[in-house]
């Protein structure tokens, strides 16, 4: 298993995109921290990068990488290597490279400028988001053999989770504003890893008062140790389920 990961790494290292991603994150983090005298404000800026850019890059890079290594995958599948192991190694290779990029590009500046607990939460959420969207991208990529369709599906996923979903939730909240919706919002949050990450980080920033009653509820729930464990667990489910589905499909896929 480790051997395949090694070659996935080698391939990723040589095509330099992940390196460029690292440099971009590093540049963005440094300039955000540099512009603001208060590291908390810098973190708020970084929050948007983590919530929008990290999923986007994870999805598109993974999908394109998968299609580009199609021949490599075909070559390896004609060798004595089980399919499940191959796909999981690909996942581990891609996810670990992107996570490394995040840890260097965001983690290093956060550590240097003193992000504290909030910074740690931001980093943790970023790592989990990377893994979630890499898993989703693998699912999109094994679903269709056509490269442009696969990338299209990945981009639609991003639009949905990063932009569309919030609009839908707002619509629901508005339509049912006569009813107590605190519990429902909590459930709706669970259904979107980006929202989950956002709320998880915002609560660490101590600005939940800005979110009104729901904020108070969130504070109550996610502020507790149980809430954090819950958020973490849901994120892990968001990694495991798409990945498991991708493996199932890949095992029966014709190459």
């Amino acid at each position: 298993m480790n051997k395949v990961i090694k070659y996935v790494w080698l391939d990723i290292l040589q095509n330099k995109i992940v390196l460029a991603y690292t440099v971009f994150l590093l540049g963005a983090s440094l300039s955000l921290f540099g512009l603001e005298s208060n590291p908390a404000k810098g973190l708020l800026g970084l929050l948007n990068i983590v919530l929008l850019v990290v999923p986007l890059i994870s999805l598109t890079f993974t999908t394109i990488h998968f299609y580009n290594s199609y021949e490599f995958i075909e070559l390896l599948l004609a060798q004595p290597i089980p399919r499940t192991q191959l796909l999981l190694s690909e996942f581990a290779g891609v996810a670990s490279s992107l996570v490394t990029a995040l840890l260097v590009g965001v983690g290093l500046p956060v550590a240097v400028f003193g992000g504290g607990l909030t910074g740690l939460a931001l980093l943790g959420a970023g790592v989990l988001l990377t893994m979630v969207f890499v898993a989703l991208a693998f699912l999109a990529a094994v679903l269709t053999r056509d490269k442009s369709r696969g990338i299209g599906v990945a981009l639609l996923l991003w639009f949905y989770f990063a932009l569309l979903y919030d609009g839908l939730v707002l619509g629901v909240l508005f339509a049912f504003s006569e009813y107590p919706l605190e519990k429902a919002t909590l459930v709706l949050t669970t259904l979107n890893p980006v929202d989950l990450a956002r709320i998880f980080i915002l609560l660490q920033m101590d600005i939940s008062a800005l979110m009104g009653y729901t904020g108070a509820l969130y504070e109550d729930f996610f502020g507790s140790a149980l809430g954090s464990v819950y958020a973490l667990g849901v994120m892990v489910v968001w990694v495991a389920v798409p990945l498991g589905m991708a493996v199932r499909i890949f095992r029966k896929k014709d190459l």
């Binding site: 051997k3 395949v4 070659y7 080698l10 391939d11 040589q14 095509n15 290594s69 021949e71 490599f72 075909e74 070559l75 390896l76 599948l77 004609a78 060798q79 004595p80 290597i81 089980p82 399919r83 029966k252 896929k253 014709d254 190459l255």
Partner: protein, 255 residues
């Protein structure tokens, strides 16, 4: 050695393999023939586990290959269009495959690397190679682990005459060492020299599987090329009564 029973595979409405049963034994060189799109490559990919059949069974040394991967330690595969990770050098591709298949070979067979004159090219990246050189690399990889079964999809296509001759000589030697060789080619003179048996597919059905000599006597042609051409142009299948058309055809020819 390989036992195929009632293999069935369709891609959407296209029936690629239709109730295909055949038994392939070691020490034989079987050429797979048929018009374009008759299911040759699909059949080879089924043997390799790259395509999962809809129904039917393939047994390798008595063990079904479905959900098994270890049998591929005994197979060397040369694809029709070998594609490799672009950035890797030839040396790295060989090193990678050796690394991944370390346990499967008692001895490494690097004869072809030398015979093809690849040694001075070892440090060239795969992306800079011509189609023919890629084919050479594919051939070397197929033979590298000295496997008892060799599956070669269009092995001589794209090779220069010298390399093609060397490859054919190699195939000949391996056949004599008691390996099972399965190959497709549209260069019939190659098949004439190399193979002992002919497996003829049409529309996914096995039309016949017979020793070459048998076909020649049946069609009354000395050259394999002519015998096959008769088959493909819709002449009588060996063993069938000639139709009215064929009688006309043969009278035209005798005149």
């Amino acid at each position: 050695m390989i036992d195929v029973r009632h293999l069935q595979k369709s891609f959407g409405p296209l029936q690629a393999l239709n109730d295909l049963s055949v038994r392939l034994d070691s020490g034989r060189a079987v050429s797979l023939l048929g018009p374009n799109g008759s299911g040759k490559t699909t059949f080879l990919k089924c043997l390799l586990g790259l395509v999962v059949p809809d129904s039917g069974e393939i047994c390798f040394n008595g063990k079904p290959i479905r959900n098994d991967w270890a049998y591929r330690e005994q197979v060397g595969y040369m694809p029709q269009f070998g594609r490799y990770p672009d950035q890797l050098k030839i040396r790295q591709v060989f090193a990678m495959m050796k690394d991944l298949r370390k346990n499967s070979a008692p001895r490494l067979d690097e004869e072809l690397i030398d015979a093809f004159g690849l040694l001075p090219l070892l440090d060239k990246p795969m992306r800079s190679l011509s189609g023919g050189t890629r084919q050479k690399v594919s051939a070397c990889l197929a033979f590298l682990f000295d496997p008892p079964v060799l599956i070669l999809d269009e092995p001589t296509a794209g090779l220069d005459p010298l390399a093609a001759e060397r490859l054919k000589a190699k195939i000949q030697r391996e056949k004599e060492r008691g390996k099972l060789i399965l190959l497709t080619s549209h260069i019939l003179s190659d098949l004439d020299e190399l193979t002992t048996d002919l497996m003829y597919l049409q529309d996914g059905r096995l039309q016949f599987f017979q020793p070459i000599g048998w076909l020649k006597t049946r069609t009354g042609e000395e050259k394999l090329g002519r015998a096959i051409a008769r088959l493909m142009s819709g002449g009588p299948l060996p063993g069938q009564e000639p139709t009215e058309n064929d009688r006309l055809f043969s009278t035209v020819q005798t005149r």
